[in-house]
């Protein structure tokens, strides 16, 4: 009995508190300043923590800059606040975090880092009408679900596959290409896109083989491929497989070049491929960092603020926040429903280059850069503007 009374009392108190808070918010909105929450999510803990924290820092830097610049929307001075979440690059965790953002009434979300988390979370943002910009998810599916809330500021794997095919056909002048993938969503997806585009470019695909994402022995596959005499071997997968693949090619006397996507455009690949790393190719979405318009300045600012080196996507995350706020300014509203149409019509010159979206929310004319290994370092060889028609 007493318990119930306490319960009722607590409920009443809570209600009072709520209405008090509500009154405060109302008071705030009539005042000349307003605090607006933007969500950021990436894997902050675990083996990709360094990449996730990098993205978060990029977003934080953008928010800090905006607050210093002083943004006025709808006649009110806006203070932006970054709500930071961690999805542990776990597809099961992603929707939980997404729901947390929805409940906290953020006006937009920057994230997630991985395709595997971005895609399941996107349905929740779409249902809530909250715009989502991923700085780094490249799987085509993300923007093919028909969600008007899904955007990305990086070229997708359709663009990457097309750019790689163009490079193989025009720069490497390869006639015969063998394709190997790791049967993962990323690896097989990228290999499929490459195959389609390569055929359009008049390249003959002489073999299509596959291991899985744990395979270390490619000798049987490579022996088969060798007898067909390819000029180039395309690999769709990550560095832990690409390294042994390149090594085994050399051992089998297969002298074709290896080329692939961002999965092995990493320092790790150079170590794992050993004495056959030299001269191999891999691409990365975006222009080379030294050619991005505002990169040098951004890099300096980032170092000064965090005393850290940029890992990968911080500049893309920075741009994603700024693009979102620019749309709010244009719409003169922070309400998702009102600024969303403006976001779709974005035309923004950011640190990473010009940002425009196509009808699906993909980056228009997103560039892809091909790198190759020169004396143990990745160096850019060509930047290819992806034809948007392919998308």
């Amino acid at each position: 009995m007493t318990l119930t009374r306490v319960g009722v009392l607590a409920a009443v108190l809570a209600l009072t508190a709520c209405s008090k808070q509500g009154a405060e918010t109302a008071a705030n909105s009539t005042a000349t300043s307003l605090t607006v929450k933007i969500g950021h999510v990436a894997p902050i803990t675990g083996d990709q923590g360094h990449l996730g924290k990098d993205n978060e820092n990029g977003a934080q830097l953008a928010v800090d800059d905006l607050n210093v610049e002083g943004i006025t929307i709808g006649g009110k001075k806006i203070t932006f606040e970054l709500m930071k979440e961690d999805d542990q690059h776990d597809p099961k965790q992603a929707p939980i975090v997404a729901q947390r953002f929805v409940d906290a009434q953020v006006v937009g979300v920057i994230g997630h880092l991985n395709s595997g988390t971005t895609i399941p979370a996107s349905a929740i943002y779409h249902a809530a009408g909250i715009p989502q910009i991923s700085p780094s998810a490249t799987n085509p599916v993300f923007t093919q679900q028909g969600f008007n809330t899904a955007f990305r500021v990086i070229a997708n794997d359709v663009a990457q596959g097309a750019a790689l095919a163009k490079f193989v056909a025009e720069t490497m002048k390869a006639k015969k290409v063998a394709i190997v993938d790791d049967q993962s969503a990323y690896g097989k997806g990228l290999a499929d896109e490459f195959e389609k585009a390569a055929k359009l470019n008049g390249v003959e695909i002489i073999a299509r083989e596959a291991g899985d994402d744990k395979t270390t022995d490619f000798t049987a596959i490579l022996t088969k491929i060798k007898s067909k005499k390819p000029d180039v071997v395309f690999f769709g997968g990550m560095d832990a497989q690409a390294g042994p693949l390149a090594q085994q090619m050399k051992k089998l006397g297969l002298t074709a070049k290896v080329i692939g996507g961002d999965g092995f455009q990493t320092p790790e690949f150079i170590k794992l491929a050993g004495d056959n790393a030299e001269g191999q190719y891999a691409s990365q979405p975006g222009t080379p960092k030294d050619k991005m318009p505002g990169y040098a300045e951004f890099d300096k600012k980032y170092r000064a603020r965090f005393n850290l080196e940029i890992q990968n996507y911080a500049a893309f995350t920075y741009d994603a926040v700024r693009v979102m706020v620019a749309a709010m300014q244009k719409a003169d509203s922070t309400e998702p429903a009102k600024y969303l149409p403006m976001l779709a019509n974005t035309d923004y010159n950011g640190v990473t280059g010009n940002i425009k979206f196509d009808a699906k929310g993909d980056l228009l004319n997103g560039a892809v850069t091909v790198y190759h290994v020169v004396s143990g370092q990745w160096e850019s060889v060509a930047t290819i503007a992806a034809p948007s028609a392919v998308q």
Partner: protein, 302 residues
């Protein structure tokens, strides 16, 4: 022709490593009728310790010819895996010796996960490259290529297997092992120290696993905490294919599985079905010979 020879060589290289690991499974099964699923992880620990040891030597400024460096690394890794094998038996299997057969299977899986996670803590989860101390220039043989490391793998595996056969067939310890395998209680009555024989079996199997682990890492140029899983599973398959519990069977099964995989993926099925094909062959063999190619004892012991 040279392509066929190449596929046979590919199969022999990977098959020799399967065979070495399969010996560990089959020896333990022969004596205890349990499947030591932590065996693949013992192989991984052997490879990781060797890698660290070589890097330590390089860091300390020791400059030896490549094969000696690897040998030094292996010499440091083998005692580690021997102790590990001994401890696994003491902690996970001995207390359950008279428990239902399912209990040690569960502890085996538990130990396997434990070792993998500990390895992630110690060495981190990203793959490590094998130090470039070995020359990997291919040698041409009738149009097929093979490296010095691969020749060494085949030769070493064959000599280790012959050594093990000699141990089992000709020595006192081997006789004790065979006795325990036939009937532990009678062997005990005859004065065989059963516990000691079982411990030694684990210790020897673990040493072989360490050697196989180093071969694997040297051949593929990398090692990581999850590297033990796939070869472990394949070697177990090889042991079953050859007839689990039979030392000859493990060797034949290992080499055969390597050849089936390589020739299967090379000629018979699309490469993504390589494993499917290997297991299909296993199923067919087991339908025709339920105890494996060279397995003898069909009847379960009471």
């Amino acid at each position: 022709m040279s392509e066929f020879l190449q596929q046979v060589l590919n199969g022999l290289v990977v098959g020799s490593m399967y065979a070495l690991i399969a010996l560990g499974y089959t020896m333990v099964y022969g004596i205890l009728q349990i499947i030591n699923f932590a065996h693949g992880e013992v192989m991984m620990i052997g490879a990781m310790v060797t890698l660290s040891a070589i890097n330590l030597l390089i860091g300390a400024g020791v400059h030896l010819p490549g094969p000696l460096m690897v040998l030094a690394g292996v010499v440091m890794a083998i005692p580690v895996t021997m102790v590990l094998g001994f401890l696994i038996e003491r902690i996970a299997y001995r207390p359950l010796r008279n428990a239902p057969r399912l209990a040690p299977l569960i502890t085996a899986i538990g130990i396997s996960i434990l070792l993998q996670q500990v390895a992630v803590l110690v060495w981190k989860s990203n793959p490590r490259s094998f130090p470039e101390v070995l020359l990997q220039h291919p040698i041409e043989v009738f149009g097929a290529s093979i490296t010095g490391v691969q020749i060494a793998i085949i030769m070493l595996a064959l000599s280790i297997m012959s050594g093990l056969l000699w141990l089992v067939e000709k020595t006192k310890l081997g006789r004790a092992m065979r006795a325990v395998s036939m009937n532990p209680s009678v062997a005990t009555l005859m004065g065989v120290d059963t516990n000691r024989v079982i411990s030694l079996t684990f210790v020897i199997g673990s040493a072989l696993a360490a050697i196989a682990g180093v071969m694997w890492a040297a051949n593929y140029g990398l090692a990581n905490p999850t590297m033990g899983f796939t070869p472990g599973l394949k070697a177990f398959t090889a042991a079953v294919l050859g007839g689990i519990g039979n030392v000859w069977g493990a060797m034949v099964g290992g080499l055969l599985l390597g050849l089936i995989e390589s020739l299967g993926a090379g000629y018979l099925v699309p490469s993504e079905y390589r494993d499917v094909f290997a297991f299909l062959v296993l199923v067919m063999v087991l339908i025709l010979r339920p105890s494996g190619l060279l397995g003898e004892r069909v009847a379960e012991r009471a």
